[in-house]
Amino acid sequence: MSAPITADPAAAEPEARASVRELHETLERTWSDRPGLLGWLMSVDHKSLGKRYVITAFVFFLLGGIEAAMMRMQLARPESRLIGPDLYNQLFTTHGTTMMFLFAVPVMVAMGLYLVPLMIGSRDVAFPRLNAYGYYTYLIGGLFLYTAFFLNTGPDAGWFAYTPLSGPEFAPGKRVDVWAQTITFTEISAIIGAIELIVTIFKQRAPGMSLNRMPLLVWSMLVMAFMILFAMPWVAVDSQFLAMDRLIGTHFFNQAEGGDALLWQHLFWFFGHPEVYIIFIPALGYVSTIIATFTRREIFGYPAMVLSLVATGFLGFGLWVHHMFATNIPQLGESFFTAASAMIAIPTGIQFFCWIATIWGGRPRFTTPFLFILGFMVTFLIGGLSGVMVASVPFDLQVHDTFFIVAHLHYVLIGGAVFPLWGAFYYWFPKLTGRMLSERLGRWNFALFFIGMNVTFFPMHLLGLAGMPRRVYTYLAETGWGTLNLVATVGGVTIAASVLVFLYNVARSLANGEVASSDPWEASSTLEWATTSPPPAYNFAHLPVVQGRYPLWSRTVDEPVVTGLRTDQRQLLITTLLDATPDHRHRTPDPTLWPLVAAVATGVTFIALIFTPWALVVGAALVAGPLIAWGWPKPKPGDPIVTEGVR
């Protein structure tokens, strides 16, 4: 690198100061979006898209929560006639589909797409236009599902859509086809997100950020991305098999013609189990980041933490049959999955112990993010323990498909993913928006959510043991389940109240909240806090060179920065995989509308596929157009597109 330039304009001389200001202005011109609605639609900036992605996912979270609230209202009393079986079936199906496919995975991918380039000291993700296409595909898929839901065509066979109930004979109409195609949309956007994260993390880390200096959040996003790549295609395959059975008369799941009803379950759960780890693993990254910041200590046992993440990722693929213990799979085979399901507790246990060791050796600050992390540890542990219980085949045969499992899954998903996500929202809100959220409201948010969540879901353990199956729209009074259900509903109301507090907090902060500096928590260690809040379009005026695992803690006054990237065109620095030594410069695309157009064309194709297989042919032509326009090379005069080597 050439001579170091200080990042602080005020410290430099007037000429140097003017040149720094000029640098910022040039970079701003090169990297910012065009103004107006068109510019917003054409944006390929990972921050703009990431924010949209997070907000969209949160809106789906709210919609899923409304569906949950309606179900709880119906179940609060025995034999309630508030909601009939048809609407109830649509509600729990849409609730599950929304939460799993439209909220949980997308919000983690979105946080990754926003944070990772900042954390690794890069200016954007590897494929910005693909990023835009992924977001718009997801948005169209979600809108499609809800439009169908409001047209009485919402899916009603469960979010897991077991055949033959979801097959052509027992699910008339187009409801399940809507479900199958929603899957397709969300699969595409998740896989695109995964590709972005993997390539960005592998190839764009700032010089000096070797793999063993990568922040734990980036590691968790990497593991999540690989899991998405290996798990998501299976549910896409499964849902397309179902769509084909329903549309063109194939027999994948038709026992009588050589198919197998159980094939659905194998394919679905081979995706479905890794799916929950896809949701959980990034949350582990948030936990590590927030604990490091608010105990002001390095996370204990970095290699163990990384290996635990990777081990969880691998092991997650070997558990899927534990969702199928009640089928007629031979018990010897099932025992293998019991052992694997118990084994996966070990890496997570190691992480817990390392976090506790970190907290022990640090000085905790009880900010709202930290409270949510404590809430995570206390809540997720219950889910994890009940998970080891249901790993046992004889016990699972009693509680499978009962409210015990509903309790377990919500403890691990809400405890394990949503609590850290709340913490992450509070932690990174200043970075995304430039405003601080109110700590006082944050504590109320935490308290109401913690109490509400436990009051809602803890009684469900007992309900399941007391014989209450899942997916029932009502129950007889003499079962005795009425009281606990009423308690759970009251808890649900509390959760709703906590979410309202959060929304009010956000609205208030955006209107006139305290302005945030680059590093408002004053103890953050990762690179996104080295730039302003919110970051400028170009992320960093000078890309940093990293000297340790916790870059902001190992910063020196005269630390080197990257020079040599052009400021008049969008350039990224590509580095090597293991040690992040600079490799070459890469021209990254300017804003364009073609990803949006291609996403719309894709959307039309998939939606039409519900009605006719010809849509594939017509759709292929329809999508080809924007894709060709997207990829068409457009050299500008005097502008070599070839990448240049760095001497």
Partner: protein, 185 residues
């Protein structure tokens, strides 16, 4: 006065709403008059004086996927397959071709099921509730591809006995209610 494009959008939304709603409603219960209604069917084309215009009978179940699926279930349940097989016929005539001895209009088929017909078709009056007969009527018509493709049932979970109505080509009846058809074997 709402903006013209808004009005158009609302109209399209309404249309979409109506069509999706019709296909996807699940009506579990018909109120007694509808459950027992029958339609009068003339037994002869001859009429004194000028021919009165017949208002076509529209079977609302023909636009409802759940009802047609129920018709498919009942077709097997009530053993229609015993004589008609899965549309290919056997003891009874084929139901998935374009020949309709007694007419293919909904009221004709209804009449066939409820009254019975000469040469072996039993009368199911009093044994099959009328709303279920209308469901069967919708299904029988779907076997000849006469229903919209998004409403007609797809394949069922049994051995393939007949092409699925969803992908059957439309077989318009070549003899629309003429006694000449009765001469066919």
């Amino acid at each position: 006065m709402p903006h013209p494009s808004l009005r158009l959008a609302l109209m399209l939304a309404g249309l979409l709403l109506a069509s999706a709603c019709q296909r996807e409603t699940r009506r579990f219960r018909e109120s007694p008059p509808a459950a027992t209604s029958e339609t009068a069917v003339a037994m002869s084309e001859l009429q004194p004086g000028p021919k009165a215009r017949d208002l076509p009978v529209v079977n609302p179940y023909e636009k409802n996927a759940y009802a047609v699926a129920e018709g498919e279930r009942l077709f097997g349940a009530y053993n229609c397959t015993g004589c008609h097989s899965h549309g290919g016929g056997g003891i009874g005539p084929a139901l998935m071709d374009d020949e309709w001895i007694y007419g293919s209009d909904p009221e004709n088929i209804f009449s066939t099921i409820v009254e019975g017909r000469p040469n072996g078709m039993p009368s199911f009056r009093g044994k099959i509730p009328n709303y279920q007969v209308w469901q069967l009527v919708a299904y029988v018509r779907s076997m000849s591809g006469l229903l919209a493709k998004d409403v007609a049932p797809a394949r069922d979970d049994h051995m393939v006995m007949a092409p699925e109505p969803q992908r059957t080509q439309v077989k318009e009846p070549i003899h629309a209610f003429t006694p000449a058809a009765a001469e066919h074997p």
